[in-house]
Symmetry: C2
Subunit: 223 residues, 2 copies
C-alpha cells in the first residue's frame, strides 16, 4: 500500500519513517529536551536508537585532554545512536540537544524487528546510514586535503543547508566560533581570523546573524 516504496530510489524525502515506529508493539518513548540537555553521554550503556522529531542534536567526542570535537549536527528526520545495532555496548560520544527538541527513543530490539518486517523502513534506514557514511567520509577527506581556511569555508556552506535537504539557505544557523573550531579541528582565534577575512572580502556578512554568499565563498574551496 505504500507506493513510494516501489524502488529504493523512489524512497523520497517526504517518506516518514516514524509511521512504522508508531505501530503497536514497538517499544518507544518520546521525550522533550531543553537546549543543552544531554540525550546520552560518552560511556553510557547503549540500548536505544534515537529519532529526531523536532529540534537539533550535536554529536561530540571528548578527548583525554578535555578538548571537544563535534562530529555531526543533526536535524529532524535524522537517526542517531545507531552504534548499538553494531554491537557497541557503550556510547562512544555524547549527544546534546542544541535547541529545544522532541526526540523519540526506540529500543534496540524493536528497531531490529521493524527493520526486519518493513522493507520501506529498512530501505530508508540503510539510506540514512549510507548518507551519514558519505558525509563523514567527505569530512574526513576534507581534513586530509584542506587547510583550516578551506575547511571553515566548507563548514559554512554545509551549515547553510543544515536540515534543509538540498535547499541551501543564505542564513547560517547561529553557532559559536568555538563550536566551529571544534568542527574543523582548529582553535577559536583561527576561526575568528578567517571569519573576519571572509567578511572583509564580502564572502559573508554578520552582526548577530551570519549570512553567506555561497558563490563567492565557494571560490575559497577551489584555491
Amino acid at each position: 500500500m505504500l507506493k513510494t516504496a516501489k524502488t529504493f530510489k523512489a524512497v523520497g524525502r517526504k517518506f516518514n519513517p516514524q509511521a512504522f515506529l508508531d505501530a503497536p508493539g514497538v517499544a518507544r518513548t518520546v521525550s522533550a529536551y531543553d537546549k543543552g540537555d544531554p540525550v546520552f553521554s560518552q560511556g553510557d550503556p547503549c540500548r536505544h536508537v534515537y529519532y529526531i522529531q523536532k529540534g537539533g542534536v550535536k554529536l561530540s567526542v571528548v578527548s583525554e585532554t578535555g578538548q571537544e570535537a563535534v562530529v555531526a549536527l543533526l536535524a529532524p528526520g535524522d537517526f542517531f545512536g545507531e552504534g548499538c545495532l553494531a554491537g557497541q555496548t557503550v556510547r562512544m560520544g555524547t549527544a546534546t540537544a542544541v535547541t529545544a527538541s522532541t526526540i523519540m527513543a526506540v529500543k534496540k530490539e524493536s528497531m531490529i524487528r521493524v527493520l526486519h518486517e518493513e522493507h520501506t523502513f529498512s530501505d530508508r534506514f540503510i539510506k540514512h546510514m549510507l548518507a551519514r557514511n558519505i558525509r563523514i567520509e567527505e569530512d574526513l577527506i576534507d581534513q586530509l586535503f584542506n587547510s583550516s581556511e578551506k575547511r571553515l569555508a566548507r563548514a559554512l556552506l554545509l551549515l547553510a543547508r543544515y536540515g534543509k535537504q538540498d535547499k541551501p539557505q543564505r542564513v547560517v544557523p547561529k553557532i559559536s566560533q568555538e563550536t566551529l573550531a571544534s568542527m574543523i579541528g582548529t582553535t577559536r582565534p583561527r576561526v575568528n581570523f578567517f571569519l573576519n577575512k571572509f567578511r572583509k572580502l564580502g564572502f559573508i556578512e554578520y552582526n548577530g546573524e551570519l549570512k553567506i554568499n555561497s558563490s563567492l565563498l565557494t571560490v575559497v574551496l577551489h584555491d
Copy 2:
C-alpha cells in the same frame, strides 16, 4: 530456519554473506584483478556493490590539485561501492586492488532484493556499514584531535590488524611511506621522520618488513 539470525548480536564473524549472493537469480559476476588494477574510478557510473573474496582493495580520492587521499584499506569479507544504494549515480572515489584479488560485483537491484528477502544478510550488511561508519568516524576524530605523529602511530596500530578481525599482528603489511602519508594527511618526509624516530625509540623495527611493538607504540597515543 536460520538460527544464526536469532539476535542481531549473534550474527558473528563466521557468517558468510556470500552464500546469499550465490542464490539463483542474483545478478553477479566474479572477476580477478592484478595488483594495481582499478575496480572502479572516480566519476564512473555507479551500478554495482562489490564484495571482496580474496585480496585487498584501497579506496582513494584525488583532489583537484592531484593529491591522493586514501580513505580505507579493505580486506576479504568487506563490501565496497555501497554508495549506489544511497542513490549516488557516479563514483566519488577510486577503488584499486592492492594485491591480486578476487572480487564479486553484485547488481544494485539484486543487492536490494537480497536485502529485502534475507534478514540474516541484511543484518550483516547493516552491521558492516555501521562498522565502517564507526571506523571512518574514528579516523575523523583522530584527524580533529591529533598531531601527525599520533596519527601515524594509530595508523600503524590499525594496519597491524588489517583483515584480521580483532587479532592484531606484529607484522604490518607492506605499505609505502607515500601511502601512509596520504592516509594520515601529511607529507612523505614527515612520515619518514616519525618512522625513524619510532625506530630509534624501539617502537618499531624494519629492514624490508615492518614490525611494531604495540604496547610501546600505544604510548605515543597517550602523550
